[in-house]
């Protein structure tokens, strides 16, 4: 009987074997003194084969260096050590279900604690926790929160951003453009005679038009900072940071053309046989001062001009600078 063997108590043995945690006790030379049922279950190594063996050779693959260093540090400095799952994943060849999945190593968190008994004999306690459930749970929570975050910003029908996202982003981007003195444009666009389309073809068909229009618009709005959002029923908004009146006007014309090219029949339209859109653009020159509400009003006014002029076209207002909300701006 080695002198280092700790005195055992039947109840403490019962408890140690019932733990949902791997428990290994080493003597000061790294010899295994205790190997609980959890360890047997997840390592496939019986207590008889483990007790009295060197921890460094008990596993066929040996111990990873990080664990060897940790054990060594615990022995030398008598301070407890932690091996986190994040930095080590699965240091020991342990398996959640050895019979069914003999290749799936369990995700582990290990803590190693020095123990000293009444007569001054030193031991080393290794605790292995299965972290796969907590990792799975956290991953699930993260997936869910990602989905919620997406649902909170995306319009579920068209896949464009929603109004809420637009409101936040518009203010933030406008503020940034003014601070950094860069140009900025906002587009509002409307599907022409959309109510008549719905009345003629039905709402499901109307929904398909909304989806098709958004796809077509997205194919033309390529810069990552640009934001296409569904502003209302058949009304959309495009935030164009770092884009002046010429650029945004040219883009708006391309967007109009893109929708014409879709050739979606619209027999009820008063201006065409196909689905068309009208676009109002409001642009700010670098250094101009304008608040979000006013720029939005200008874009809306511009859209109204495009509609009044016969629809399927673009109207734009350049440099919506204002300190006075009633100032007149030039429509081009």
């Amino acid at each position: 009987m080695p002198v280092t063997k700790p005195s055992t108590h039947p109840l403490s043995d019962l408890v140690i074997n019932a733990l949902k945690l791997g428990v290994v006790v080493l003597d000061r030379n790294g010899m295994i003194l205790a190997w609980n049922d959890w360890m047997i279950r997840h390592s496939g190594i019986s207590r008889e084969s483990a007790i009295g063996q060197d921890i460094e050779t008990i596993f066929e693959s040996g111990l990873p260096n990080s664990l060897k260093t940790a054990l060594n540090n615990v022995r030398t400095y008598k301070l407890p050590v932690l091996l986190s799952n994040a930095l080590h994943r699965h240091p020991l060849p342990l398996f959640a279900n050895l019979a069914l999945h003999p290749l799936d190593r369990m995700q582990q968190s290990i803590s190693i604690t020095p123990l000293v008994d009444q007569i001054g004999t030193a031991y080393c306690l290794i605790q292995v926790a299965d972290s796969s459930t907590s990792i799975k749970r956290e991953r699930l929570l993260k997936d869910q929160s990602d989905r919620f975050a997406q649902a909170a910003t995306i319009d579920s029908l068209t896949g464009a951003y929603n109004r809420r996202f637009f409101d936040e982003r518009f203010k933030a981007e406008l503020g940034r453009a003014q601070r950094q003195q860069t140009p900025f444009s906002l587009m509002l666009l409307d599907i022409d005679y959309f109510k008549l389309y719905n009345d003629t073809y039905g709402h499901p068909a109307g929904d398909r038009v909304l989806i098709g229009v958004v796809q077509a618009l997205k194919s033309r709005i390529n810069r990552s900072a640009d934001v296409l959002a569904r502003y209302g029923g058949e009304e959309f908004a495009v935030i164009l940071p770092d884009c002046g009146s010429q650029g945004s006007f040219a883009l708006a014309q391309k967007l109009c053309q893109e929708i014409v090219n879709l050739h979606i029949p619209h027999s009820a339209s008063l201006i065409s046989n196909h689905v068309t859109i009208s676009i109002g653009v409001a642009s700010l020159r670098p250094g101009s001062k304008c608040d979000a509400d006013y720029l939005l009003q200008l874009a809306d006014k511009s859209l109204y001009t495009a509609k009044a002029a016969g629809r399927n076209q673009v109207s734009s207002i350049d440099n919506g600078e204002c300190t006075n909300f009633n100032s007149e701006c030039q429509a081009t």
């Binding site: 990080s66 050590v81 932690l82 091996l83 986190s84 799952n85 930095l87």
Partner: protein, 203 residues
């Protein structure tokens, strides 16, 4: 209040740099690349003098890894990083391809391990070089407002002295700064000084 001589502070910095060297080699092994760790400066504060700017913690939230040490010197030891830096360090340790979001779930445990390595290394260096025996608990990590964490330090009237190590850490060419704060009772501080003086005389 206790005044430290330059010799004493230098001797302490030297002891802690030995600890930092040990921690760096453990960390290098884990991240499989060169980790550098140094303690350029050691300072003493009264608890009442502690605030965010004294510790150069320019962030609303900080992460703290805490261990309690007992033995001939009794101390509450904390490794303090701004929350953002803590996340960056963990990211660098895990490899640059992991995103910050992905890290959130592991952050706590990984920071505990990092803190444990640095704290243990510094403590074992003190124990070795100054010839004292020290015991410790497993680390606890918490992230909270800078104000709250610092107020916990300051409110502990039984531990009126704080020894602050400024730590520079470089992982894969990225530099980070943190602090290691030893919160000591005046008795423990006196004990520490006795041991340092003995060490200086023995040199």
């Amino acid at each position: 209040m206790i005044d430290f001589s330059t010799d004493q502070l230098d001797a302490l910095a030297e002891v802690f740099n030995i600890g930092a060297g040990r921690a760096a080699s453990s960390l290098s092994e884990i991240v499989d690349s060169d980790v550098k760790l140094s303690v350029p400066r050691v300072e003493f504060f009264k608890s009442s003098e502690i605030n965010a700017s004294a510790l150069n913690l320019t962030s609303d939230r900080i992460g703290a890894v805490r261990q309690h040490f007992s033995g001939s010197i009794e101390a509450e030891v904390m490794l303090l990083f701004t929350e953002e830096r803590a996340l960056n360090i963990v990211r660098e340790m895990m490899g640059s391809d992991a995103s910050i979001e992905e890290l959130a779930e592991y952050e706590q445990e990984a920071m505990c391990e990092l803190g444990n390595i640095i704290l243990n290394a510094c403590i074992s260096a003190i124990a070795d070089i100054l010839g004292v025996t020290l015991d410790t608990t497993l680390p606890i990590y918490s992230v909270d407002s800078t104000e709250l964490i610092l107020s916990q330090i300051v409110s502990d009237a039984g531990q009126p002295v704080m020894l602050v190590l400024h730590i520079n850490m470089t992982i894969e060419k990225h530099d980070s700064q943190g602090n290691l704060a030893f919160i000591l009772s005046s008795t423990s501080l006196k004990e520490l000084i006795v041991h340092i003086d003995r060490h200086i005389q023995g040199m």
